[in-house]
Assembly symmetry: C2
Homo-oligomer: 156 residues x 2
């Protein structure tokens, strides 16, 4: 299949735009499914889940600014989400060790437990939603995305 595609690569001016629209729509469709399932199964939102995921990967906590740089999805007010998660007992703010005007946010034990429960189910959804690709196709697209990612880093 790849050979077919390569051989019919045309010097189409609109190739990049068509590809971008397809990338956006495929991603948006998976994301919409995940948003909807997070809501119905865990009564939570993708920005909340994303915030907990970033904290889980950074057990020492993150400053608000670091947190906002690491979030994968947009659309949430980070301060508002953190406030709500703190009220729910899932995260805790502490004074930042070096910057007195700032805070570090960490998961609580309850936050870690709840995130882990959701993460297992979330991963099953992702496996299912990407199951249209074989393992070899997944590896191919992962490699192709690595090329773009490295190029993005060089540009920024």
């Amino acid at each position: 299949m790849l050979t077919d595609l390569e051989s019919r690569v045309v010097d189409d001016d609109h190739q990049a735009l068509k590809l971008w629209l397809r990338l956006l729509s495929c991603t948006a469709r998976v994301e919409a499914q995940i948003r909807s399932r997070l809501r119905s199964e865990f009564d939570t939102t993708l920005p909340r889940f994303d915030l907990l995921a970033q904290l889980e990967r950074n057990p020492d906590g993150l400053a608000m600014r670091e947190l906002s740089q690491r979030l994968m999805v947009t659309g949430g007010n980070i301060t508002g989400i953190t406030d709500q998660l703190e009220i729910d007992g899932l995260v805790v703010r502490s004074p930042h060790p070096t910057d007195r005007r700032s805070f570090t946010v960490k998961l609580t034990a309850a936050g870690r437990r709840q995130f882990k429960k959701m993460a297992v189910t979330h991963e099953q959804w992702v496996i299912e939603l990407l199951s249209g690709w074989s393992a070899a196709e997944k590896a191919q697209i992962h490699g192709l995305l690595a090329i773009l990612k490295n190029h993005q880093k060089e540009q920024s």
Copy 2:
């Protein structure tokens, strides 16, 4: 490169999740660039641009419900955006031909002109932002995304 990748495909349980996070972050990075440039160069937002783009592809107009189904990005209040675009003279609402409780939204001549001006620049940005991929790589990823898209259709 692809052969290398295929040969080192491992039965990694986390393959789908890692791929999804990479897909999300690459897409989000391009999207963030486009949002930021739309704001600085055209003083507009991605949901507004997206809405105009859908109307440009549908010259006979779209009912609000059709419009909301076709939008590629989330995060905008469609009625609010349409109101604002109508105030700006870029779109116009007319009574829906068959559904008396609904409206059809169309581009005005000014809306079409303004969209076309932005679309040319937007396409240049996309070409630049995806320029990390060669034409052959773009064709490969387009083909791989087609597989996922068809699978998504079967599932829904």
